[in-house]
């Protein structure tokens, strides 16, 4: 039986340690195409590159393994890998391991997760992995058995169509990870502040800063799982419709404008 073909990307860039860990796990599971941004792309959300040309640079190509860097976004990488390099759908798209959590509303800002949602839009089973530790030298080794297990489950059983997974892994010091929880996206938010400064030419500028706050006390969320040392697995779709709101707005409908 042919090995599965796995497309790997991230948003921290081609040289990030988290990507290297993800590659080393995926090499046990199939043939690999790595295509990742040539520089960090954190916070890029679902940006795509339409006004500048995309360039792809081959770094390595051998039997069952090839690696490219790209000047585009994570979402561009998935499109390019699928349509321009492979010319066919991979069996799996994986993205990460992100340096920092993409749980709760962080999923909306995340380039890592945009790549995964892009995979879902192309109806490819797709998984994003993030470790709840922002440091460059974070210890990714404890993630490995969980990443392998979840990827094997997806390769074996697939996912419902147009669905992907947002997997967040707790950062544990000393204590072991407790297990896996299937969860929903917590209703948390960023309490933002702008740090206003003056440059040497007396012109103002701002740095975006903020504190992440969870207002969702329930125990079925990704935030609860992470805070309690579980790997949080949230299935995602890309239908943003608030279906329950539709009937509430029905009386706004008109024929012509009265």
């Amino acid at each position: 039986m042919a090995k599965p073909l796995i497309l790997i990307t991230n948003d921290d860039g081609i040289f990030a340690p988290g990507l290297r860990t993800l590659i080393s796990v995926m090499q046990h599971l199939g043939d690999i195409l790595v295509i990742a941004p040539d520089k960090p792309m954190s916070g890029m959300g679902h940006a795509v590159t339409i006004s500048t040309p995309l360039r792809v640079h081959k770094l390595k190509s051998e039997e069952g393994y090839s690696e490219y860097s790209c000047n585009g976004t994570p979402a561009d990488c998935v499109k390019l890998g699928h349509k321009a390099i492979l010319g066919r759908k991979p069996d799996l798209v994986v993205s990460g391991i992100n340096h920092g959590s993409n749980a709760s509303v962080n999923v909306l800002y995340s380039g890592t997760m945009a790549a995964v949602i892009e995979g879902a839009m192309e109806n490819i089973p797709s998984i994003g992995f993030s470790l709840d530790d922002y440091s460059y030298s974070a210890d990714f080794s404890k993630c490995e058995p969980y990443i392998k297990s979840i990827a094997e489950n997806v390769l074996k059983s697939g996912l419902p169509e147009y669905t992907c997974l947002n997997v967040n892994i707790p950062s544990v010091n000393g204590s072991p990870i407790k297990g896996i929880k299937i969860a929903r996206q917590a209703m948390a938010y960023w309490d933002e502040k702008f740090d206003q400064r003056q440059d040497p030419h007396m012109r103002d500028y701002f740095w975006l800063t903020g504190v992440f706050r969870n207002r969702d006390e329930a125990e079925d969320t990704d935030e609860w799982a992470l805070r309690n040392n579980y790997v949080a697995v949230v299935p995602l779709h890309f239908d943003l419709t608030s279906h329950k709101t539709i009937p509430l707005l029905r009386d706004w409908e008109t024929e012509g404008l009265n």
Copy 2:
């Protein structure tokens, strides 16, 4: 009674004609803060600026009306307007009028709609307006009564918490707009192709191109409404959880890893 305070942004940039139309409509409804990108930011998705300083340039300030350009993304503009300039929540965030449709999956790539979703995340009633015409010289005048009517409805009745609206307006030549339909996001997709070229130095580069295809034949979608000359109003939330998938994955849960 105090006039409502309305924050206006877009992703086509501060000089775009669509923004100017939106401002002229909103000036009848309340006090205005315009804060928009200093250059086009189409396709930026929900990008936020965390690695470079944000700069804000005051263009105009008079009683009930102020206008700023910003070097950040549309989502940055909402955060800056709310937290750094106003220091309080506006009563309404509006974004657009986008030059081109943001119906169906286009909502995921759209900077216009990222600003609106950012507003919803801050629990501010927020509306994105887009005209299904990409040309710079598109005729926005037919949009005006619909924009006014929908914004007045939202100012009067509010929206459910953490909910916003994606409003797409058909481009009609000659025939009138038929009315307003409350709709859901259509399951369409981009059939992408990369146009591969060589630069004068014999290095390859790619342009992202594609054809939008709707695979959703139902008559309750934003695409159906647009194609049938209706204004499509889709209520959105930002919970990406595929709730129906959660029970299907329950047997992946573990305590420890077996």
